[in-house]
């Protein structure tokens, strides 16, 4: 997704002369063009995330609209208090970008994974979260964030089960996408976890199981706007959520509270293995039971 993020944010910076781009010493082989194009509006704040976010708040207080970029765990955890106090409580237009949500950074190890980013950030006041499902979904999220008056977070990721297909429809407001029509089970992919379901759709013959497949990409939810999704849940009474995130604090948890109560609800989420075995994003997803095969099994289980 980072490949798609770069031109999108390049355009956003061109569109909005009050915008600036601040990176926490990351962006090698990705942001060089942005750096070259925007002079002092491109700022490398160094390996100092707390200061980076505080500086972004100060820059925003002076009337600018910063994008702040790092890899997801570094963009969120150390500077959480700066995000809360300096940015969110002041409703400042700081757009935080975390590259590598979930297990994206695979073999880099657990310090580089972000399985708690959305859970931590969804507690913050005034903050909007965006988690595009596929690469072709990033630009739309960047455009929405460009125009927001307050703070936002963008979670970029690469799925261990990469897949893409054209959606049947997309809600331009919530970025919710409808991928497959069915009447038995509502499957909801959170952010790039939808790609696991898309892979299952190709490999596991989900269509025959009556799967109504959605990808969601924005929090807080706007279920009035996503009436079709709610209607699907009402109709099937059976929901499976895929979320490449810790179960505690997941968007899946929030969905369970927000959706109409259903008799059958299951969520497949990510976890750290006590065994401490590392590998590619796909390897880690397999360890967590977040696989296309597991999607099929969970659907069969829910239906029975």
């Amino acid at each position: 997704m980072r490949v798609d993020f770069t031109p999108a944010v390049h355009q956003a910076l061109a569109d909005d002369p009050a915008s600036v781009f601040i990176t926490g010493a990351l962006g090698y082989n990705a942001l060089e063009e942005v750096a070259a194009a925007y002079g002092p509006r491109f700022l490398n704040a160094g390996v100092a995330e707390q200061n980076m976010v505080g500086v972004a708040a100060g820059v925003a207080l002076a009337g600018f609209r910063p994008w702040v970029y790092s890899i997801a765990p570094f963009a969120v955890y150390r500077c959480f208090e700066q995000l809360r106090n300096d940015v969110c409580l002041h409703r400042l237009p700081v757009r935080l970008v975390g590259n590598g949500g979930g297990f994206t950074y695979g073999i880099m190890g657990s310090t580089h994974h972000a399985l708690e980013d959305l859970g931590a950030l969804k507690t913050l006041p005034n903050l909007e979260l965006f988690f595009p499902g596929t690469n072709d979904h990033v630009a739309a999220a960047v455009r929405l964030m460009r125009d927001l008056p307050g703070p936002a977070y963008l979670r970029l990721g690469i799925s261990g089960f990469a897949s893409a297909r054209a959606p049947l429809s997309e809600n331009p407001r919530t970025l919710t996408r409808h991928y497959a029509q069915g009447s038995r089970v509502t499957v909801i992919g959170v952010g790039h976890a939808v790609q696991i379901a898309l892979t299952a759709l190709e490999q596991q013959d989900l269509a025959a199981l009556g799967v109504d497949l959605y990808g969601i990409s924005r929090f807080p939810f706007d279920l009035e706007s996503d009436a079709a999704l709610v209607e699907s849940v009402r109709k099937t009474g059976t929901v499976l959520v895929l979320d490449e995130h810790y179960r505690a604090g997941s968007i899946a948890e929030s969905l369970r509270l927000a959706l109409p109560p259903v008799p059958y609800f299951e969520a497949l989420t990510a976890r750290y293995e006590p065994s401490q075995r590392y590998g590619s994003a796909q390897f880690l997803l397999r360890q967590s039971g977040l696989t296309p095969e597991a999607v099929r099994e969970a659907i069969l289980e829910l239906r029975s």
């Binding site: 704040a45 160094g46 100092a48 505080g54 500086v55 100060g58 820059v59 208090e81 700066q82 300096d86």
Partner: protein, 269 residues
């Protein structure tokens, strides 16, 4: 500098009355930075809180009541608003609220936050949209325990933010002990100097020294840091240098005694 001393005395009285009526603590910390605030708002900051005006960030958010009293004295905060201090429904809590007043751009209270914000403001006003706006950030010495302060110091020096002035209210006491016993941060002046600031050590209760430290020309491309040696509880003898006045509210007889002492100090001015 007699006018400054007169103002500071009047602000001290106002400040103590606020604290007595509210039965609020954080008295010692307010008194240690009150002369610095007086100088800043009487003669240094131009059009604070107005568009294009100078910016002041109180990183030591627990000094908010001293700032409220100072703003009120110089007509930047109404009596009606000040009367709500510490009460239910107020815009003036013990630590500044986010976006409540144009004169207080940032909510602070968790230490280590003010300087990064001030550095961002200074960067915006010097690099992104050059103007003559000055940015002043007041830290406590306890503030300097926080790593984010030094991240921001590196940033400000690297970007040569000459429009930024840091003032460290070095009263030598923090929440649970003397700074030198808890986590010794001396030599403060050498640290800030090494981090790339024009650094001046001064008596934070001496208005001539404060004026000189703020106004003397040193270099044109470095941020400035004033290490203001201050006394926690300054001006009320039984509070001076006493840790408990970080927390205690005043009893009626203590308030009366403090006010008598300030009256007496006024007579000798």
């Amino acid at each position: 500098m007699r006018e400054f001393r007169k103002d500071a005395l009047a602000i001290r009285k106002r400040f103590l009355r606020m604290h007595f009526e509210a039965q609020a603590g954080h008295i010692g910390t307010g008194l240690s930075c009150l002369d610095l605030l007086t100088f800043l708002y009487k003669s240094r900051l131009r059009r604070p809180g107005q568009p294009g005006g100078d910016q002041f960030i109180l990183s030591k958010g627990h000094g908010a009541s001293a700032l409220y009293a100072t703003l009120n004295f110089y007509g930047l905060l109404t009596d009606e608003l000040l009367a709500t201090y510490y009460k239910d429904g107020t815009l003036l809590p013990a630590h500044p609220a986010p976006g409540a007043l144009p004169t207080i751009p940032a909510a602070t209270g968790s230490l280590g936050h003010g300087l990064p914000i001030a550095a961002g403001l200074a960067f915006a006003h010097q690099v992104l949209r050059p103007s003559d706006t000055r940015v002043v950030c007041l830290l406590s010495d306890g503030d300097c325990n926080e790593g984010s302060v030094w991240e921001a110091a590196m940033f400000a020096a690297h970007h040569r933010l000459a429009n930024l002035t840091v003032i460290v209210d070095a009263n030598g006491l923090q929440g649970f002990g003397r700074t030198r016993d808890v986590l010794d941060i001396e030599p403060l002046a050498r640290k800030w100097d090494t981090f790339g600031f024009d650094t001046i050590e001064l008596d934070g209760h001496d208005f001539e020294e404060i004026r000189d430290a703020l106004t003397q020309v040193i270099s044109k491309d470095r941020p400035r840091c004033l290490i203001a040696r201050t006394i926690k509880g300054k001006g009320v003898s039984f509070m001076e240098n006493r840790l408990e006045w970080h927390y205690l509210p005043m009893k009626p007889e203590q308030f009366a005694e403090a006010m008598r002492e300030l009256e007496k100090a006024g007579e000798s001015l």
